[in-house]
Symmetry: C2
Subunit: 195 residues, 2 copies
């Protein structure tokens, strides 16, 4: 029997993400994807059940990479400031390395295609919860409702990143957020969260 071509599936995934970032869900079709990937439309159905399944799988795969990169070298037992900065830097590095992936997931954020509960893996969520519990216990941060805390801890990060991502457009222009500005924003967050 003939084996599956791993390179082929990888190409489908890459081109699909590219197309969605450039044209949105709206402009994304199986036939255009087939043409972009240089294969027949029916071949896509060997690797993915249907359009919806393809989108779902893409999202899950991208989110999994994100979760892995965000938690790199992270331990929920870390001192709060170190741990939060590590996560900021990890996410920053992820976005520099995979701007398309990041842009792609952002398309899902407010779309009806993915339920909120599907965002991030359970392991990721529980690691983050433990991290905050520790920080509160050690009185490194003020005690706050969870969503207020996360909004303060990551809101500035995401707004900053989104701004620079849009500045860079989708052409070749590089992502221009400097680590210095990132650090500046981070210092503000730390000041805000101190007890």
């Amino acid at each position: 029997m003939r084996p599956r071509d791993e390179q082929k599936e990888a190409t489908i995934r890459e081109k699909a993400i590219e197309m969605i970032v450039q044209e949105g869900f709206d402009g994304f079709s199986m036939q255009k994807l087939a043409k972009a990937a240089g294969l027949s439309a029916s071949t896509i159905y060997i690797y993915f059940k249907n359009r919806e399944d393809l989108l779902r799988q893409l999202y899950l795969a991208v989110d999994e990479v994100f979760a892995r990169e965000a938690l790199r070298h992270f331990d929920p037992a870390m001192p709060f400031e170190d741990g939060l900065w590590l996560q900021w830097k990890n996410r920053y590095r992820y976005i520099l390395k995979h701007p398309l992936y990041f842009h792609f997931s952002e398309q899902f954020r407010n779309s009806p295609l993915i339920r909120q509960q599907d965002l991030h893996t359970p392991a990721f969520r529980s690691a983050m919860q433990q991290f905050v519990r520790n920080a509160v216990q050690r009185k490194e941060v003020a005690e706050l409702p969870a969503e207020v805390f996360w909004a303060a801890a990551y809101g500035p990060f995401y707004i900053l990143v989104q701004f620079h991502l849009q500045q860079s457009g989708m052409g070749g222009k590089p992502f221009s957020l400097s680590e210095q500005k990132l650090k500046q924003a981070f210092q503000l967050v730390i000041k805000a969260l101190r007890p």
Copy 2:
């Protein structure tokens, strides 16, 4: 001659926004919109040049309402803390009053359909710029790169709002962010931005 039916155009706009919030750009079509609005598809083309024009007009109209509401009772000369809190409350009220509108604009945020520069009217942008210039001059806030400043001033707000918006889903469930939590987040932001 027969006059245009203003009610008809209003219905088209409302139903279009509803449909986009519920099904995304992907699931939005002229024919489904016609059926939902109870008229012929060709009638839509009396009020809007085409699909793209319809989306553009919807976005501009919604954004105009937002800008008006956000600036309600606002003056760039206000003391910083008062002015920023007023804007937070204005935006909060806007989202409570028009959750669909807000959800609708969020769909555009990372989509290729609207250029970043089209976000918000020039009047809105310049009012905000003047507001910060004044605050810096009076040493009410630290001097920071513009995007770092805005990220810190509004990041927590938007993350908080997005979280509660997703919690409420799109069914009848009410938008559940309390003004108390809003105020808590605001206090953190003020603490962060002080010189």
